[in-house]
C-alpha cells in the first residue's frame, strides 16, 4: 500500500471519527448507535497505520493485496451496522404501531366523553380540524 493512500485513509477515518464524535456531543446521534461507527473508524485507522498487522491478517485469510483486506474489513463492519439498524427499525415499527393503536383507542374514548358531557349540558371546546394526516409532515408545502 502506497504511503499516499495510507495518509489519505488515516485522515479520512480520523476525520470521520471526530465528526461522529461531534454529532454525539451535540445529541444528533445517540451514543448507543454511534459506538459501532467509532469501532469501524478505529479499526480501519489502526490497520491502516500498522501495515504488518494488516499484511498478516491478509495472509491469514488469503487476501493478496493488503488494501483489499482493508476494504473487506470496512465492508464487514458496514454489514454489521446495517444489521443492527434493521433490528432497531423493527423494534421502532412495533412501538409505533402500538402507539398508533393506543392513540386511536384513546381518541375514541375522548370522543365518547365529549359527547356525554355535551348531553349533560356541559360546553366542550373541540379542535377545529380532526382530520388525520396519513403521512405526518409531508403535507407542508412552502
Amino acid at each position: 500500500m502506497s504511503p499516499r493512500l495510507q495518509i489519505i485513509i488515516a485522515i479520512v477515518t480520523a476525520a470521520a471519527f471526530f465528526y461522529i464524535g461531534d454529532k454525539v456531543r451535540t445529541r444528533v446521534i445517540e451514543l448507543k448507535y454511534a459506538l459501532v461507527w467509532f469501532l469501524l473508524a478505529l479499526v480501519l485507522f489502526i490497520m491502516d497505520l500498522a501495515p504488518t498487522l494488516l499484511e498478516r491478517a491478509a495472509d491469514l485469510l488469503g487476501v493478496t493485496l493488503p488494501i483489499n483486506m482493508l476494504t473487506l474489513l470496512g465492508f464487514g463492519f458496514v454489514l454489521i451496522i446495517l444489521y443492527s439498524f434493521t433490528i432497531v427499525l423493527t423494534n421502532e415499527n412495533r412501538r409505533t404501531k402500538r402507539l398508533t393503536q393506543e392513540i386511536a383507542l384513546l381518541n375514541k374514548r375522548i370522543g365518547q366523553l365529549e359527547n356525554a358531557l355535551e348531553e349533560a349540558g356541559i360546553e366542550v371546546e373541540k379542535p377545529v380540524s380532526e382530520t388525520a394526516d396519513p403521512r405526518p409532515g409531508h403535507k407542508i408545502k412552502v
Binding site: 415499527n93 398508533t100 393503536q101 383507542l105 381518541n107 388525520a132 396519513p134
Partner: protein
C-alpha cells in the same frame, strides 16, 4: 348470560362500501357489536362513519391492514369481548353466516372458525390466479402443520378470548391470515371452517394489486415457515394471554 361478540371491520378507503357493510351487520347479525377501524382513509370513510354515528376508531397514522385488525383485537380485549370476528369493510363478507360461525366456536372444539369459500364453492370465488395462490397456501399449511384449511386467506375469522388476547399482543403488520393460522396451530389451538358465500366487492380496489402479488406470495410463504419454526418463542410470548 349472553356473550359479548364483536365484529372488527378494517376499512381503508371504503367510503363506497362501509354503509352497506354496517347495515348488513345490523340486519343479519344483530347480536354482535361492531367496531370500524379506519386506517387513515384518504376518502370520506371517516366523515360517513361520523355522520351515521357508527362505532369507529380512526388510526392517526396509516398502519396497514394487520395493524388495523390488531387495533380491533386490542379493543375487544380492553372491552371484555368473548368472541371477535373480522369482517372486511368492502362488503365481501356476508353477515348472515356470523351466527352459524359463533355457534361453531361456542361448541369449544376449535379456537378459530374460518368462513371458507371453498367448501361448497358457491358465491364469488376470486379470480383464477388468486385461487391458485390460495391452493398453494392450503398445501403449504398442510405440509407445515398437517392441518387442512381450505380457505387460508379468508379474512372472515372468528376467535375466542384466548386468541383475542394473543392477537392483541402479536399480530403481523400485513397479510396476516395464513401466517396467524400456522401460529395458532403451532400454539396447540385448533381451527375449524364453516362454508360461506362471499360477494364481489361493491366498489373500490382490493388491497392486493397484481404487482404486489409476487411479494405477497413470497412474504406469506416465508412467514408461514417462520411461524411453524416458532419464532414467537424468541419474543418471549406464549399462548396464555388470559
Amino acid at each position: 348470560m349472553s356473550k359479548k361478540r364483536l365484529i372488527i371491520i378494517p376499512a381503508f378507503n371504503e367510503a363506497g362500501n362501509i354503509v352497506r357493510t354496517v347495515e348488513d351487520i345490523r340486519e343479519n347479525a344483530p347480536s354482535f357489536d361492531y367496531v370500524i377501524i379506519n386506517d387513515c382513509s384518504g376518502d370520506d370513510t371517516m366523515r360517513i362513519c361520523e355522520k351515521k354515528g357508527y362505532n369507529c376508531i380512526n388510526l392517526p397514522i396509516r398502519s396497514g391492514i394487520g395493524a388495523a385488525v390488531q387495533a380491533g383485537y386490542l379493543y375487544a380485549k380492553r372491552y371484555g369481548y368473548d368472541c371477535a370476528i373480522q369482517v372486511d369493510g368492502d362488503g365481501q363478507h356476508d353477515a348472515a353466516f356470523l351466527e352459524e360461525m359463533a355457534d361453531e366456536l361456542d361448541k369449544g372444539k376449535v379456537q378459530m372458525v374460518i368462513g371458507s369459500r371453498f367448501i361448497e364453492n358457491q358465491g364469488f370465488l376470486s379470480s383464477g390466479f388468486r385461487r391458485l395462490g390460495i391452493r398453494w397456501f392450503t398445501l403449504w399449511i398442510f405440509l407445515l402443520t398437517g392441518a387442512r384449511i381450505t380457505d387460508p386467506t379468508s379474512g372472515m375469522r372468528m376467535v375466542g378470548r384466548d386468541v383475542i388476547n394473543f392477537f392483541a399482543e402479536e399480530y403481523p403488520k400485513d397479510y396476516p391470515e395464513p401466517e396467524t393460522a400456522v401460529t395458532l396451530l403451532q400454539l396447540g389451538y385448533s381451527i375449524g371452517e364453516i362454508p360461506v358465500r362471499m360477494k364481489h366487492r361493491q366498489s373500490g380496489e382490493s388491497s392486493i394489486s397484481p404487482t404486489r402479488a409476487v411479494y405477497y406470495m413470497v412474504k406469506v410463504t416465508i412467514a408461514c415457515l417462520m411461524a411453524r419454526l416458532g419464532y414467537e418463542r424468541f419474543f418471549g410470548l406464549t399462548s396464555s394471554g388470559s
